[in-house]
């Protein structure tokens, strides 16, 4: 090791204070020092709800991807999916923090919840994620198929949001779009490899798409929160052409058929965006929130 390198490594150990990033270690605001104001004429309560929707998508899906750790076929895929999960967790933190700021701006006392309050102390019906992200993947084909759909959709969405009138949301989206480009390419390449692979891999990939497809329609469904935020939020219906184009290209290359499955129905007119979830979400939240709820004042 050269002297320079040694000094660099030594400097990392100069301080014994523990700053691991986990519940109870004292979070810092990921938006520290960023102008928190809500633009003139924007409905702050709707902006808070919108950031919560997009933040919950990333938080819950990140958790599902984390559950794959130690279970993947190769170290390279484990590394890839850990990094994708980490990117999404980062996006979730920024979006939940923005939701808290907007919530504060909408209230007379100015108090908005902090990111960990939102992540760990909300119940199932208060989560606003789409149902697609809740599913437990049965196999690697379902993992890559769902990651393709999710990242193609979120990349199109963030492409639109990069022009949002809310500068904070626009910055989060512009940054996240760069990350999602890598996620989408990773998933697309796997879907092609499996679809255009051996007969068993093709069959499994086709079957996985059949399982995922009923949850795709919900991604493009209109919702009142988006409707209340013209120029700030992105109309989900307008994303369909771009996402369909990407999915068709991938499926064609992979020699896979687009499933004709009927969409998963709404429950009394409600879906994930309204807080109506599948039973899978309860299991995720039990794992995600139990430590924080059992020891709300824990520090370590």
């Amino acid at each position: 090791m050269t002297d320079d390198e040694f000094t660099a490594y030594q400097s990392l150990g100069e301080d014994s204070e523990d700053h691991r990033w986990a519940f109870g270690t004292g979070f810092t605001d990921p938006l520290e020092g960023i102008d928190a104001s809500v633009p003139e004429g924007v409905d702050a309560a709707a902006l808070a709800a919108y950031c919560l929707m997009l933040g919950d998508d990333a938080l819950i899906y990140s958790h599902r991807l984390q559950q794959w750790m130690t279970r993947l076929p190769e170290l390279e895929e484990e590394t890839a999916l850990a990094n994708i999960a980490l990117d999404l967790l980062g996006q979730a933190r920024l979006l939940l923090a923005r939701a808290g700021q907007a919530e504060g701006a909408a209230r007379p006392d100015g108090h908005g919840r902090a990111e960990d309050e939102l992540a760990f102390f909300r119940d199932e019906h208060e989560f606003r994620n789409v149902r697609l992200v809740e599913r437990l993947d049965a196999d690697f084909a379902e993992l890559t198929g769902r990651l393709l759909v999710f990242s193609a959709w979120r990349l199109a969405l963030f492409g639109e949001l990069a022009r949002s009138r809310d500068q904070v949301l626009a910055a989060i989206a512009a940054k996240g779009a760069k990350e999602l480009t890598y996620h989408r390419d990773y998933a697309a390449q796997w879907v092609v490899r499996l679809g255009d692979g051996t007969p068993p891999s093709h069959e499994k990939m086709q079957a996985a798409l059949g399982v995922i497809w009923p949850l795709v329609d919900e991604l493009f469904r209109a919702d009142p929160v988006t409707a209340a935020l013209p120029g700030v939020a992105a109309d989900p219906a307008k994303l369909r052409a771009e996402v369909d184009g990407v999915l068709d290209t991938v499926l064609d290359t992979a020699t896979l058929d687009r499933p004709a499955a009927a969409p998963t129905g709404l429950v009394a007119g409600h879906s994930g965006r309204d807080g109506m979830h599948t039973e899978a979400l309860g299991y995720i939240l039990a794992e995600l929130q139990s430590v924080a709820r059992a020891f709300p004042d824990a520090t370590w």
Partner: protein
Amino acid sequence: MVTAWDIAAAVPDPELPMVTLADLGILRDVADQDGQLVVTITPTYSGCPALREIAHDLRRRLSQAGFADVTVRTELAPAWSSDWITAEGRGKLLAAGIAPPHPAPPGAAARGGPVPLTLSATRREPVSCPRCGSADTTQTAPFSATACKALFRCEACREPFEYVKEI
């Protein structure tokens, strides 16, 4: 005279300690605002867990140098690009066996349309082996020990190496 910028610029990155915050382009600004030193940094990736360490290291080193009132703030826009890694930083990465990034693709504004899909894992521009210089290399994974790198293998010298991704 050693300025506050010099001190902040020399802080090593916690994940890639062979390069400094200035080398990586994540140190954006150091300004004196009415006696308060405001240091602006930007994360490489949204989930970068090193950001907190970086802010902590900045505060500690600056206070050791006599700057009593230091605030570290984050900036998200414009989003960090690997193009911001300096020539010196690229040299240091290479010397440490990490291939520096190719130029990043144009951003959304310059592109003016959807992000093109890449279905092939083979890169148009080859990534040369930082050890032997051969361009005959293969990507083994598009991600590595950190979000900002990919894993490669050199087909000439057979050594694995990391590549800082263009973003």
